[in-house]
């Protein structure tokens, strides 16, 4: 079974990986993003689609002929005030029209949750409900444990004396080897600690976000911007988004207008050169220092 290393994977890898390993399924996770994938993805979908979606389809192209099933969930909303990106609603239908490989799919919306989704997939693959329950229990324990670990690590980082910058960006951009990684490296080379916005306690950030924007109804954006209120010790903020991200275009703009510390807004698209980014990052670092 294949999982593309893009979008949802970064949110739920600690849940999905142990779950499927416990069920003795051969997992193929696509490698780090490379320019070939970007090329494949760009050819497949309209040019106006956001960079992260193009990469997702690039990963799917890589996986399509290598595995029997591909896991493509449709995550719509957790409740009415916690919706996800509009693009996420369309992923399954779009992929099923573009690829012939069998797709394992579950749906999360007002009536369905992650647990139900994973159970459905377990049954589809022919496992007994007892085994699935076992695997799920193991996976959820591991997931919670890893979140805790992340949090502890983060709070240690926040206490250090080095200069710190809070990175506000979707995890699928932050940890992507084409989008986020090179930029984070630039900061670390200059001896600046990056605080990741997704390593905070999600429940806390989710509710805190309403203080910054009372009507925000996107879950992932709420998780992100809530972290701003939890990190008053940082020296600056870095906004990183992929062009043209629908959520970030509005939310980041709103948040930036409410900040009183230096910030840098980086928008990456498929032909951004690192040299240009480098100059901007360096001048930003000068401002912080």
């Amino acid at each position: 079974m294949g999982i593309p290393k893009a979008l949802h994977y970064y949110y739920y890898k600690e849940l999905w990986e142990p779950f499927f390993k416990k069920l003795d399924i051969d997992l193929i996770i696509s490698p780090d993003t490379n320019p070939v994938m970007l090329d494949n993805g760009t050819k497949l979908v309209p040019d106006e689609m956001c960079l992260s979606m193009k990469l997702y389809f690039g990963h799917l192209v890589y996986l399509a002929d290598k595995c029997d099933y591909i896991l493509i969930p449709r995550i719509d909303r957790f409740d009415n005030d916690n919706q996800t990106c509009t693009n996420f609603l369309a992923i399954y239908d779009l992929a099923s029209k573009l690829f012939d490989t069998k797709i394992l799919n579950f749906n999360i919306d007002n009536d369905n949750n992650m647990r139900g989704g994973l159970f459905k997939i377990g049954k589809e693959l022919g496992f007994s409900s007892k085994k699935v329950t076992q695997a799920y229990k193991y996976a959820i324990a591991y997931y919670k444990y890893s979140l805790k670990q992340k949090e502890i690590e983060q709070s240690n980082k926040l206490l250090s004396d080095r200069k710190k910058v809070l990175l506000i960006s979707h995890p699928y951009n932050t940890y992507d080897s084409l989008i986020g990684k090179p930029i984070i490296k630039l900061f670390e080379d200059n001896d600046i600690n990056i605080i990741y916005c997704d390593a905070f306690n999600i429940q806390k950030t989710n509710t805190l976000a309403l203080k910054l924007s009372p009507n925000l109804y996107w879950k992932y954006s709420r998780d992100q911007i809530g972290s701003i209120l939890l990190s008053d010790k940082v020296d600056g903020f870095l906004f990183l988004s992929s062009f043209p991200c629908g959520l970030d275009s509005l939310v980041n703009e709103l948040v930036m207008r409410k900040l009183n510390k230096p910030y840098l807004n980086l928008v990456v698209d498929d032909n951004t050169s690192l040299a240009g980014v480098e100059t901007r990052v360096e001048s930003f670092i000068d401002v912080i220092n």
Binding site: L44, V45, N215, L250, N252, R257
Partner: protein
């Protein structure tokens, strides 16, 4: 606030209905929002984030213009995609520009907000019973306008005397502004339906039928699509469009359930993407000669729908033309592409 003056961003000819409703329910001044012009677009994009979709820029531009005219309460609608979040950023932008006003959002996150509570908080002088009565009239008015406009789109291209349809349409809208009661409105509607059917038309044997699908704001506000429907009518093309306010408010709910039963798609795709895909299929099955898909640039749901629309049209061998409208799209460019599309359709027919 000394005297309350209400305004709202406008869309197409629905301005008549909205103004009618507001002026009858609220005991205060209503300010006509100025028509969208190039200046509106310029102001709007100047203060908007770079890669937000075009309706944000247009509505922001209109808001600034009506605030300059003296309005201090503004209504904004909202929808399923990021449209529901517009109002928060727009409020912040306008506040940063130094305007003193209130922005009232009617739908947020796909949910209707509690209007009564908001009206109470903002001290808007309104009449409850009147609001219900005139609300009913307005709904009926919108339905009638949509019916007539649908007729106009299909038949305008056959008119013998130029502009006869447009003139009568304008007359009807003017008369609807003076509606007194539900019955009166019905009389007006029937009178004009008769008049529209009496207009002399010459229907050729072979004519080209085109269906328009796409993102709602771009479809319904003629300024943002460069009077595409008028251009098509001038070429002699009969136009079918599904998306209008009646569809969005009343029919959509049932239609979507029906669509999902056909199993072409498994899930809803956000905003009108699903509807457009099924409408494309409908148009293909009913022998339309071509399909035009329009959207404001960066409209996320429609972008996801485009590959599927393309696939369906390819299966049925019907040509599709995709437009992505932005502030910087030139009218000549749109015209050229449209003419080329028309020529192609004409050649196919032979």
């Amino acid at each position: 606030m000394s005297s309350i003056k209400i305004s709202y961003p406008l869309m197409g000819n629905y301005e008549v209905a909205i103004f009618y409703l507001l002026s009858h329910t609220f005991k205060c001044d209503i300010i006509h929002p100025p028509k969208i012009t190039t200046r509106t677009a310029e102001i709007g994009s100047k203060y908007s984030p770079d890669f937000v979709c075009a309706p944000f820029k247009y509505t922001l531009g209109t808001m600034i213009e009506s605030l300059d005219k003296g309005a201090n309460v503004i209504f904004q609608m909202g929808g399923g995609c990021r449209y529901g979040y517009y109002h928060e950023l727009q409020r912040k932008i306008l506040e940063d520009l130094g305007y003193d006003f209130k922005l009232i959002n009617l739908i947020s996150g796909g949910k209707q907000v509690n209007l009564l509570k908001i009206f109470k908080e903002t001290n808007l002088p309104y009449h409850k019973i009147k609001a219900i009565y005139y609300g009913l009239i307005t709904i009926k008015m919108v339905k009638y306008i949509d019916k007539i406009e649908d007729y106009i789109r299909i038949h305008r291209c056959f008119e013998v005397k130029k502009n006869s349809f447009n003139q009568l349409h304008q007359e009807m809208l003017n008369e609807m502004k003076k509606t007194k009661s539900l019955f009166h409105l019905k009389l007006i509607y029937h009178k004009y339906r008769r008049l529209f059917k009496k207009i002399k038309i010459k229907k050729p044997k072979n004519y080209i039928k085109v269906g328009i699908v796409g993102e709602l704001y771009t479809l319904m506000e003629p300024f943002t699509n460069y009077q595409m429907e008028q251009l098509l009518s001038d070429m002699g093309v009969s136009v079918k469009r599904f998306t209008d306010v009646t569809y969005l408010l009343f029919k959509k709910k049932y239609k979507v359930k029906k669509f999902l039963k056909q199993h072409l798609l498994k899930y809803r795709m956000g905003a009108d993407a699903l509807d457009n895909i099924y409408h494309t299929k409908y148009l293909c099955e009913h022998n339309y000669d071509g399909i035009i898909h329009m959207k404001a640039s960066f409209c996320t749901p429609e972008i996801a729908a485009m590959p599927i629309i393309n696939q369906i049209a390819h299966e049925y061998k019907v040509p599709v033309l995709f437009f992505s409208m932005d502030m910087n799209t030139s009218e000549t460019g749109v015209k050229t592409r449209l003419e080329a599309f028309y020529d192609m359709l004409e050649m196919r027919q032979k």
